[in-house]
Amino acid sequence: MSATTTPLLSMRGISKSFGAVEALVGVDLDVHAHEVVALVGDNGAGKSTLAKMVSGVLNPDAGLIEFDGEPTTIPTPAAAHALGVATVFQDLALCDNLDVTSNLFLGRELKRSGGYRDDERMEAMARKVLDDLNSRIPSARTPLSWLSAGQRQAVAIARTLIGEPRLVVLDEPTAALSVAQTAEVLMHIERLRELGLGVILISHNMTDVRAVSDRIVVLRHGRNNGVFDAASSSHEEVLAAITGAPTLRRPRLHALG
């Protein structure tokens, strides 16, 4: 894709070890605005580890991170938030007992001058964000416990839009969803791209990945194992890169650097 423009996020030579286990070795990753990059790989390939570095939960042992072409570090989730990185974690970070608005603004509630919460402004903004995502959640006052798994995922994605982020990291957003719910979530991801955000999508599901992503970055045993253009690469090619099976063609390493 837009390899000529400055990537929103550029990671170079990222390495991370947990004790003797090398989780990531010299991994590169680029994400542009208006782009959905799928991060795929088998269990333990290092997808989530890489994503956690983007969201500031983990810190790399070695490597360079650039945001907007500027070298930076993301030591904490707060730092990630300040950069404009929003993350939807695999185990949904939502509170069932709170309503949709409260969940969207949890940890960054809007306040009135008196110091107390501005619930009305938050609800109005929540309504707007849900509409931006074309979400079908009827009321922002609905408690999370009444929502379906797909609607919760929509809330989790909507959450990322509070505070005008530039890069959204989605860790397995369609795991454990029904077909219809998956379709709904994929639609929300496309909306994120239309809104001009960069998206990192981690998924096991190749059908989902091919449906929404622009580029597919394959990790295997903590190393880069190919970058594919989602539109022009074949299912077999990508699968071969994930599993390490011998393939007839070498994957085209492009859009890097």
């Binding site: 185990d91 509170c95 919460r117 009305e120 009827p138």
Partner: protein, 410 residues
């Protein structure tokens, strides 16, 4: 009592044809449970009014009801916050005895003025709360263990401080629990004008806050409840406050001072839980501690302050208790923690945390209080009173659980 209703889910009508009946019923969930427990209180009051041949609602009995149960209500406010955050506090009874002892000693032996002694009691409460909060929040020991230890530690300290009953406390101090507001406005038809004025002011403040909240929603073009429901709510509250005001104004002293204290605490803490960021974070921690942490809520700090606050309120309860007894005794506050915990659960708090309201806990405390008073007027044996209260607690929670299951939200 209903300034903290904004967490209640309000379902806009006619907007979502996709909802099943079950979902629609649970849509009333938050409010229905709150109204349900309130309705239960009214039923129990009416029941005992009949069973006691109208003695329950005699003016002096109603005033005594508040004076006798002020300590439970004060403790229940703090306890509901502890429970909502997913903790428990077993130490409050012992803390009440300990602080009560120190306050009494400070007045009798050290000669402190009563007001300084009261402030000292509240300050010690905060220190005790900070001590327990430290172990819970920053060391990570379950609150059950920390406060079980606190129950022993502070009962022990209470025995040290109060070797023998400390009596002879200043009369001003004793007035906190036993006195009433001065009737400086005189009487009209035998009714204390001060009490009437407070009642009128309370209703006016309620109507004003409701109108303001509605205007805020309107301004942001958000859904508001129908005008009928809105007016019904205001008329209902005004009617109940009005009845209470008239009854109290006919009592021997007028408005008990503790009622003013409890009322102020209820309003302040309903606001804290319902409208502030801190309150929202308490609910979030109780709902999903991990998620709250990931979202940037400082869970340790919230835990810590919840216990500091519980200590503060235990200090207030100690002052009220000591003042009511007119003396400090080492055995004071026995089972107070259980009274407060029971009030919270009767009032709709969830054992798992995340759910519960200040208003609910107060209603729970009143239900227990009315049971106590009604059964006492009927001269039911205290042993049976205890058994009956135990069953009421069990049934209240069972009823709540069955309701939730039927609504399919548990």
């Amino acid at each position: 009592m209903s300034t903290d209703t904004n967490l209640a889910p309000a379902m806009p009508s006619g907007e979502k044809p996709r909802l099943s009946i079950g979902e629609r019923m649970s849509g009333l969930g938050g409010n229905a449970r709150q109204y349900g427990i309130f309705a239960a209180l009214i039923v129990i009051v009416l029941l005992f009014q009949v069973l006691t041949d109208g003695k329950l609602l005699l003016a002096n009995n109603v005033a005594a009801l508040f004076q006798q149960n002020a300590y439970v209500m004060i403790l229940a406010i703090g306890m509901v916050m502890v429970i909502v955050a997913g903790h428990i506090d077993l130490s409050v009874g012992s803390v009440v005895a300990f602080i009560g002892g120190v306050v009494a000693v400070s007045m009798r032996d050290w000669g402190l003025p009563w007001l300084v002694a009261v402030l000292l009691g509240l300050a010690i409460g905060c220190v005790v709360g900070a001590w327990q909060g430290f172990w819970v929040a920053y060391v990570g020991i379950p609150a059950f263990i920390v406060t079980l230890a606190g129950m022993l530690v502070f009962r022990g300290l209470a025995l040290v401080v109060v070797g023998e009953t400390i009596a002879g406390l200043p009369s001003t101090f004793i007035k906190i629990s036993k006195g009433s507001l001065p009737n400086f406005l005189g009487f009209a038809n035998n009714m204390d004008v001060v009490t009437i004025a407070i009642g009128v002011l309370a209703v006016a403040a309620f109507v004003f806050s409701q109108l303001r909240a509605r205007a805020q929603l309107r301004k942001h073009e958000l859904h508001v409840e129908s005008l009928g429901a809105f007016v019904a709510k205001i008329v209902g509250v005004a009617l109940l406050v009005g009845i209470l005001t008239v009854i109290l104004s006919l009592s021997a002293g007028g408005t008990p001072i503790v009622l003013v204290i409890v009322g102020a605490l209820v309003v302040a803490y309903s606001f804290l839980m319902g409208r502030t960021v801190f309150g929202r974070h308490i609910y979030a921690i109780g709902g999903n501690r991990l998620a709250a942490g990931l979202s940037g809520v400082n869970t340790k700090r919230v835990d810590f302050w919840i216990f500091v606050n519980m200590g503060l309120l235990a200090g207030a309860a100690a002052i009220v208790t000591t003042s009511r007894a007119g003396a400090a005794i080492a055995a004071a506050g026995q089972n107070y923690e259980l009274d407060a915990i029971a009030a919270c659960f009767i009032g709709g708090a969830a054992v798992t945390g995340g759910i519960g309201r200040v208003a609910g806990a107060i209603v729970g405390a009143l239900i227990m209080g009315v049971l106590n008073m009604g059964l006492s007027i009927m001269s039911v044996d205290p042993s049976w009173q205890m058994a009956i209260k135990g069953l009421v607690l069990l049934l209240a929670v069972a009823f709540d659980l069955i309701n939730k299951r039927r609504a399919g939200t548990s």
